[in-house]
Structure formats: C-alpha cells, structure tokens
C-alpha cells in the first residue's frame, strides 16, 4: 500500500504539515482543508434543461479517498449519527477501518443524502472512479447472472490470501454500485467479504426494493456473486492446504506408504477411482 504521504502529496498546497511516522498513519491537515467542502461532498450545481450540469466539481482522484477514508482514531468510536464520523484528522495514531466500520461508513454516507436523486448522482460519480476493466474479461463465465444490466466480475486471491476484485458494467449507475462494493471488498480477507449481509447495504438502494431478490436489485446480485466466488476460492484453497499441511496418518493397501488425514484419504480415493495416479508423500 502506498504511503499516506505519497497518496496525499498532490494536495500539498492545502497541507501545513504532512508527516510520516514509523506507524505511518499520522497526519495533520490545514484546518481550511476541512472547511472546503468540495473534497468531501458532492456539489449539486444548478441544473436546468438548457444548461448541462457541470461535473468538474467532483474530485476524481480515487487515491485520496481510498487512503484517507480507511483510517480512524481507535480511541474515538464511530458515531452512527455523525456523517463525518468516518473521516477525522487528529494527532493520534490511526488504524484501518474494519469491515463493519466500512459498511457503516458507506451506509451512513448514502443515508445522509437527502433526496433519492442524490444517491443516483453520487453513484454516477463513483462510477467514474472504477478502475478500467480489461475487455478480455467480458466473457460469459464472468457475467453476474440475474441482473437487468450486464455486469462482469473477476475474482482472485493474492499471495497474502486477500481477495482481489475487478468489476464492470454497461450501466453507469451499476458501475457506481460496483465501485462502492470494490471499495469495501478489494484487499479484504475472505471471511470479511462473507460477513457482509445485503441488509447492511440497503441504504444504497436507489428507488429499488430494499430487500428481497429482484432482477433490478443489481448490487444485491453482485454482492451475492462476489460472496459465492469468494467462497469457492476459500474452499479450493482449503482443500489444497489440507493436503499439504497435515502429515500422513492413514495406511494404504499398497504397502507401507501412509497418507494424510480423512480429507486427504478421501481425495486420494476419489482420484484413484477417476483413474489418476496418486503419489502419496514419502
């Protein structure tokens, strides 16, 4: 992960001091920064049918949001009623938000928007922050089924056993949903991903039924897809891990070679039945 200084350096004119400590989450920001609402809010300009809305007021650098928002003061609990509770600047060490805290932040943010149309516009803004999706990933096996819009989802697990996601859609509003979900889940542990419930994100709904499965509940479908694929990864990895981590205990009829625990024995029996050569550990 980039250092916080690198992430925030483009904002140097606004900073009185940005420092990096050995526990690299200590920042000080110029007070005027927080008084400038642009970087924290959506700006709804006057829109008339004759005058297209300006979108330049929406900051487009995702790194700023990604870095700043993930930290909070562990001594200062997040207030459910405070819409700014998830972003603080202080002098004490910061810690990454937990998954429940991130979900809460996201829900709070959307809940704080006074009009349903504001959620639409917020989602459209977040759609612009979604990383590009390789055209080669737009294949049938990556499609999220059951959506009225087209959604493609790629799931991977990195070497640190953290989940990595790439997603795209042909609908801008859906891309906005995807962007929010990626912010939640990309780089998270599988267990964290699986812990999120659809009800937790009901506040994100834009004019759609808040509960229950529906073709138009796209984000619901994407969330379920993310969790299903994550679960598959976990099961495969667990299976592989169990074959390598446990010492052989079961004797075979082929001699004195012994093989792993029950799971390993089961796997090996299945493989033999399939006609594959199975080599037990020596």
């Amino acid at each position: 992960m980039q250092s916080l200084t690198q992430n925030l350096s483009f904002l140097s004119p606004l900073f009185s001091q940005v420092s990096e400590s050995p526990e690299p989450k200590k920042i000080q920001l110029k007070s005027s920064f927080f008084k400038n609402p642009i970087f924290f809010t959506s700006h709804k300009s006057v829109h008339s049918p004759d005058k297209p809305i300006s979108t330049e007021v929406f900051p487009k650098n995702p790194i700023f949001f990604t870095s700043l928002k993930c930290y909070h003061n562990p001594d200062k609990p997040i207030s459910r009623n405070s819409s700014v509770s998830c972003i603080t600047a202080h002098e004490t060490p910061l810690q990454p938000l937990t998954m429940p805290e991130k979900v809460h932040c996201l829900a709070c943010e959307f809940k704080s928007l006074p009009e349903p149309i504001d959620r639409v516009k917020r989602l459209l803004h977040y759609a612009t922050l979604l990383p590009p999706f390789d055209e080669s990933g737009r294949v049938e096996e990556n499609r999220v089924k059951g959506c009225t819009t087209m959604v493609w989802l790629e799931v991977e697990m990195d070497s640190n056993r953290l989940m990595r996601y790439k997603v795209d859609s042909d609908s801008e509003i859906t891309k906005g949903f995807c962007s929010c979900l990626i912010w939640l889940f990309d780089g998270a542990m599988p267990e964290e991903v699986l812990s999120v419930k659809t009800d937790d994100l009901a506040e994100m709904n834009v004019g759609m039924p808040s509960k229950g499965h529906s073709r138009v509940n796209t984000w619901h479908n994407i969330l379920i897809s993310i969790q299903k694929k994550t679960k598959n990864f976990v099961e495969v990895k667990d299976k592989d891990r169990s074959l390598t981590e446990f010492p052989p205990l079961v004797g075979s009829t082929d001699g004195f070679s012994v093989y792993g625990n029950y799971k390993e024995a089961q796997y090996m029996q299945e493989s033999r039945q399939a006609g594959n050569e199975v080599e037990g550990p020596t």
């Binding site: 704080s112 149309i117 639409v120």
Partner: protein, 488 residues
C-alpha cells in the same frame, strides 16, 4: 468515499411538486364529473349487471357535452375524462407528479373495480359452488356472472368456454400441459415467433422436451414485425399448434390473427393467441378471429391481479384432461381413482380467486361503459403522438415498425438512448421526474438478442393517459439525456 453531511448544494430545477393532486383540480375542471358526459358509442354486449358490479365510469353517467373528435388528444379527451376514476394517478413521486407509463406491465384500477372488490368482502364473502346459504349463493352468482361477462366481452359462445386461471401465464401452461401432452407427438411442430413473451415460449419448451415435438420460430422483417409472409411457408402437416401474440409488448406491432388462424386451420393446426396486450386495448372477437385458445390477464386490463382467463372452444376443453387436481374439479373421488367435472370446473382446482373474478367482472362493466372501439381509437391517436414525439428526440432508437397505413402500432414504444443504459434512463426518469417507464428485456430475451441489444426502455400507455403525459415524458427524457451526456 465518505462525505461530510454539509454540502454545497443548489437546487436542481425540477417540475414543481404537485403533492397529492385533487382529482377535481384544474386538469379535470373542464371535465368534472357533474358536468360532462361523452359522445361515446356505448358498445355494450348483452352483459347483465348487478348491484355489486355496476361499474360504468362516473363521467359516463353525466349530462352530455360534445367531444371534439377532431382534437382527440386535447382537453376533454378520453384520458382527461377518465383520469378522475383512477385515484392512484393523482399523487407525487419523488417530488414530481406521477406520470405512469408502464401499462404494458400492469394497468391501474378504477374506483369502480376497487369498490366492487371491497363490496364483495364487506357484504357477501363466501366460498362458491359449495354452500347453500345466502352468502354462498350470492357469491356464486356474482362469480359466475363475471364469467359470463368475460365470455360476452370476447364473444365466446358460452360461459363454459371461459376458464379462470391465475394469469395468462398459467393459462398457457394449462393448454401446454393438458392439451399439449395429450396431443403432441415426436416430430410434431409448434410455431411461435421470436417476439413472444417468455410465457408463450417456456411452457412449449417444457412440453416439447417431454413429447419430442419441435419448436419453430418466425423471425422479423426489416420493418421489425414478425414475417407473416414466411409464416405461411412454415406451416405443414406437422404443425399442430400456432401460438402467437396478438400485439407485441415490445415491438407494438399487431399480427393479422384472422389470417394466421385461417392458414393454421388449413393444415389442421390449432391456434392459441396471447391477447394480453390486445384485450385491454381493442375489440377482440374470438369467433371472428377463429381462435381455438386465447389467454389474457386481468391486471393488464384495469382488473385486479391474481386472475386471468383462458378461452377454449368447447370441444377442445371437453377433450382435455385436468391440469391441477384437487377440490372443485372432481365429480367423484374414490381411494383408487376419481372422476372429473366438466369444463370449466375441471380446470379450476381449489377455491378460486373469487374477489378477483368479481373485480374482473366490474372491470369489464367499466370498459364496456366506455366502449372498446372508443378506447382503441383514442389509443391509436395517442400511440402516434408518442411515437412522433419520441422520434423527435435526438439519439433515440425506437423498435418495431414505423406507423403507417400498413403497420398500426399499439400505444407503446420500446427504445434505447445512444450511449446511455436504459436502466440508467429509467432510474433518472423516476428519481428526478416521477416518470414511470420500464427497463430491461420485458420478458422478451430472444427478441432482444435478435435485435442485438441487452435491454431497452419502454413507455406504454393506456386510455387514462393524456397528451400531457407524453409531453411530460418527452421533456423528462430530454433532460435525462442531457444529464448523462454532460456527466460523461
């Protein structure tokens, strides 16, 4: 991603919120209930009415004034006059006046229908066909009267040719499983079009799998209508059933059913028509069209959800085995076998949707009070206005035929906006302007695939819509396109 709650906001200019609109407001001042009636052609069929089901539009019982036929969409149009009968239309959605343009999905219900249902539950709710007490007798009478009204409405020979189902989908499944499993053999053919609703495709796929029959699909012409010319060539001695829509819920095209039925019968095939998008909007005469089966849904014709109808010729229904088993559809039940009732009871297992059937009867009274020809004439005008208005919006692609002397369009338009997903369009129309349209594949995925698109938006009208609804929709759509264009 977290934003502070204090925002620098400016109000987006929007249509002023009307809040709850009084049905007697300025819009309908010209056509208040007490002052206007219409130069309607009352096209009552000989359906009896009862105190429970008197459902003429309030406006129709008022003193006469002349409707200017030359300006059918102007003040005093059918839409303006009937709107007060539909309480749901007079509300604000997301701060804007509701503009309901999703009638192909489901229609709104007039007060007369709502009152009929409420009256049933308040006055004589009881199970039908079973009890001998007063309430049961009255409920049975009203239930069977509703059946008779439906029969009259589509000019069936007798009420026994009308089977009440849950909806048109169930009606098609009934024919598929009851008639289809009995009559279809391997290599037999069922002819459909690629523009069919899923409800008129999937049941046939299921039955074809079981029987070994084959499905053949008629494609579209360059005008985006089913190629009726090729349909005749597709028919052969192998064809056992032609199952087609009357009016397409996406293309708005109208098939020449009378011709199609004639060709089908020439080769010995039966004809089933999905009339969901036609029965609510025009005169449908099953005898004139020469149909063997017809299905329709109450909820698309200003009636309640939960009830649909299957019309079947008597001789066909008499020969069909039961679909669902249980009470009501039997004659005698023994431990090892049962005998079955005559149609329509044979196909109505269990307690029926009694209130809904009575509501459907009230609906037919209401529609008949206006006149289906009157409704159709008005909607043709509105359809043309919608099409021409939508066509004037830049970067719009409308699907289906261009209206002409040859091609008549129903009052709906499926469309796409260049570079803007239809779901995004529909969401913004709803959230910013209170305009209700549909987005998706409209239960016509094969048709969308054929047209090379994943989804489309659809605006669909009914007789209670007005020219102003269309104008509001076009304004809102223009604003929506402007928003997404500038956003990108």
């Amino acid at each position: 991603m977290m934003m502070a709650s204090t925002t620098v906001e400016s109000a987006f200019l929007k249509i002023p919120s009307f809040g709850f609109v009084n049905p007697n407001n300025a819009t309908s001042k010209l056509v208040s209930r007490s002052s206007v009636s219409l130069r309607f052609g009352f096209h009552f069929r000989s359906c009896a009415t009862s105190s429970a089901s008197a459902a003429e539009p309030a406006s129709a019982s008022s003193p006469s004034s002349v409707v200017n036929d030359g300006a059918k969409l102007g003040p005093g149009s059918l839409g303006h006059i009937t709107r007060p009968d539909f309480p749901i239309l007079h509300q604000a959605v997301n701060g804007s006046k509701l503009v309901y343009l999703d009638n192909a999905a489901t229609s709104q219900k007039p007060t007369a229908v709502l009152e009929a249902i409420q009256n049933y539950y308040e006055s004589y709710n009881s199970n039908v066909h079973r009890g001998i007490h007063y309430l049961s007798a009255r409920a049975t009478d009203e239930f069977e009267l509703a059946r008779q009204k439906v029969a009259n409405f589509i000019n069936a020979s007798e009420s026994r040719e009308i089977v009440f189902t849950r909806n048109a989908t169930e009606a098609i499944n009934l024919v598929a499983y009851s008639w289809g499993l009995t009559n279809l053999r391997p290599e037999d053919e069922i002819v459909l079009t690629i523009a069919e609703h899923h409800s008129n495709i999937v049941p046939w796929q299921l039955v074809a799998q079981k029987t070994g029959a084959n499905l053949k699909f008629l494609e579209l012409t360059e005008d985006e209508v089913p190629d009726v010319g090729k349909l005749k060539e597709m028919l052969s001695k192998k064809t056992k059933l032609v199952a087609v829509h009357h009016v397409s819920n996406m293309l708005a095209s109208v098939l020449p059913i009378e011709e199609i039925a004639s060709w089908a019968h020439d080769v010995g095939a039966k004809v089933l028509v999905d009339a969901c998008q036609s029965v609510p909007h025009m005169v449908v005469d099953v005898k004139k069209l020469g149909l063997d089966f017809l299905v329709a849904s109450s909820h698309k014709m200003c009636g309640p959800t939960g009830i649909g109808l299957l019309y079947g010729k008597s001789e066909l229904l008499n020969a069909m085995p039961p679909f669902l088993g249980g009470g009501e559809m039997i004659a005698d039940v023994f431990l090892d076998h049962s005998t079955y009732a005559e149609p329509p009871s044979r196909f109505e297992a269990g307690t029926p949707a009694i209130a809904e059937a009575i509501g459907l009867g009230a609906t037919i009274d209401y529609l008949s009070g206006i006149g289906m020809e009157r409704i159709h004439d008005y909607e043709v005008e509105l359809a043309n206005y919608l099409y021409n208005s939508l066509r004037s919006v830049p970067n719009i692609r409308i699907y289906g035929p261009e209206p002409s002397r040859v091609f008549k369009r129903a009052a709906l338009c499926s469309f796409n906006v260049e570079d803007v997903h239809p779901t995004d369009v529909a969401t913004f129309l709803d959230q910013q302007h209170g305009v209700a349209v549909r987005s998706g594949h409209h239960c016509a995925q094969p048709l969308h695939r054929y047209l090379g698109i994943n989804a489309s938006a659809r605006a669909s009208l009914h007789f209670y819509n007005t020219k102003e609804d269309v104008d509001d929709f076009i304004r809102a759509l223009t604003d929506t396109i402007s928003f997404f264009t500038s956003f990108k």
